[in-house]
């Protein structure tokens, strides 16, 4: 197939998933509300002192983003697996890796990007300002695609498995740790005035490593699942 054919196929998959997400808006808002809820619970648990909140903000906001990403990415292939679209995707004459990447990208657009945008608002709730807010959003912008990529491996590995939701969490959370450390580290080092460059570069490096490797593993897992 020609290059244009491949691009067209990627476009078609992204377009279909966006259309489906739009028709099932309720699912979409669940992820976003989950992010807001989890982050809002912490001030209630810890107390409203601005100093404490500002200190825990990077970790709390990053963990909340990470959990909401986990919640949604765990289901990225489930519907396709159940209605047979996934096996058709394996059989179309295009590389499965690229198709998988297209699906993950569409998923990130509807569940990762809203989290990035909302982080401004939640950051304000926690008393972050100026540079720290910008770095929070930037770190999420660099980090959430990596989370989606890694999460898709776990989602594909657990297709059709009993209790797959918990299993995805167990498989994927340890792999999320570097992203969490660099992401939260970027924000907290901005707050303490050290500068976020090093952490942000490491986040970018994680994305660069995950971008070629994760879809390969996900595609292999999808093949195992549909056999």
């Amino acid at each position: 197939m020609s290059q244009a054919g491949l691009g067209g196929a990627v476009g078609a998959i992204v377009k279909r998933d966006l259309l489906l997400a739009f028709r099932r808006r309720a699912d979409l808002s669940t992820t976003v509300f989950f992010f807001i809820m989890v982050a809002s619970l912490f001030p209630l648990g810890v107390g409203p002192e601005p100093g404490v909140l500002r200190a825990i903000a990077p970790g709390v906001l990053w963990v909340a983003a990470l959990l909401s990403c986990l919640l949604s990415v765990g289901r990225v292939f489930t519907a396709d697996y159940q209605d047979g679209v996934l096996e058709q995707m394996v059989l179309i004459p295009h590389p499965l890796i690229v198709m998988v990447l297209a699906k993950v990208f569409a998923h990130w657009l509807v569940s990762g990007l809203p989290v990035v945008l909302l982080s401004f608002l939640l950051g304000l709730q926690f008393g972050l300002e100026g540079d720290a807010l910008a770095v929070l959003a930037l770190s999420l912008l660099l980090g959430t695609p990596t989370l989606s990529l890694i999460g898709s491996i776990g989602a594909a590995l657990t297709l059709g498995v009993r209790g797959s939701g918990m299993l995805v969490a167990l498989l994927v959370l340890p792999l999320f740790i570097p992203v969490l450390i660099f992401g939260a580290g970027a924000v907290s080092s901005t707050v303490s005035g050290i500068g976020a460059e090093a952490n942000l570069s490491l986040l970018g490096a994680c994305l660069m490593v995950a971008l070629p490797l994760a879809p390969w593993a996900t595609a292999a897992a999808v093949r195992i699942a549909v056999e």
């Binding site: 159940q82 096996e87 059989l91 179309i92």
Partner: protein, 206 residues
């Protein structure tokens, strides 16, 4: 042509069939029959390359399908027992996307035409697939065959959930496919009303 030589299939530790040979030549439909659980679906998935084979070879025009990869899937239309359609999309949208992904004609007009040909009226075409009946959903999936220009069709129980009218329509479509030099491997429980010389039956041992 498609050749399968000495195929063995095991599910878990249980062997379903072994030493199976299938040859499909242009103009021929191979009907796979056998009891439930005899491995019909597994055989079809193996022929598609979805299921790895324990032993044996599958060749398309003399080359192993494992080496051909996309060159083989370009020649192939597969329909499993799952419809491969999205409940939240309309039949037209479903058909357009699957046609686009497999490189067939994906215009709205030809999608509508194909759906009319499988007996799905204008009104049903605009509804979400979710609200259609089982038989209608199957027709949406089968409509791909009206757009498909592929040489090889591999179909798992295509007649399931179809009424008499649907069976007749599909049989006619098979006939045109075979007359045009196409090939088909079809798992089925019922007799296919096609000329004797264009159908070969393969019975899997229980």
């Amino acid at each position: 042509m498609l050749e399968a030589i000495d195929l063995t299939c095991a599910r878990g530790e249980r062997e379903l069939f072994s030493g199976l040979n299938v040859t499909v030549t242009p103009g021929l439909l191979v009907a796979i029959v056998g009891e439930n659980g005899s491995g019909k679906s597994s055989l079809l998935r193996m022929l598609c390359g979805l299921l790895p084979r324990e032993r044996g070879a599958i060749r398309w025009k003399g080359t192993d399908i494992g080496d051909l990869k996309d060159e083989y899937t370009q020649q192939l239309t597969y329909l499993g027992h799952l419809n491969g359609t999205k409940d939240d999309l309309t039949p037209v949208e479903n058909l357009q996307i699957s046609a686009h992904l497999s490189g067939d004609d994906d215009s709205v007009s030809s999608a509508r035409e194909a759906l009319l040909a499988v007996g799905l009226g204008r009104r049903a075409q605009g509804l979400p697939t979710r609200v259609l009946s089982q038989g209608q959903k199957r027709r949406v999936a089968l409509a791909r065959l009206w757009l498909s220009t592929r040489l090889l069709w591999i179909l798992d129980e295509p007649f399931a959930a179809l009424d008499d009218g649907g069976v007749t329509l599909l049989t006619e479509r098979f006939k045109r496919h075979l007359d045009g030099g196409g090939m088909a491997v079809v798992a089925t429980h019922q007799d296919i009303q096609l000329p004797r010389e264009s159908v070969r039956q393969l019975r899997l041992p229980g």
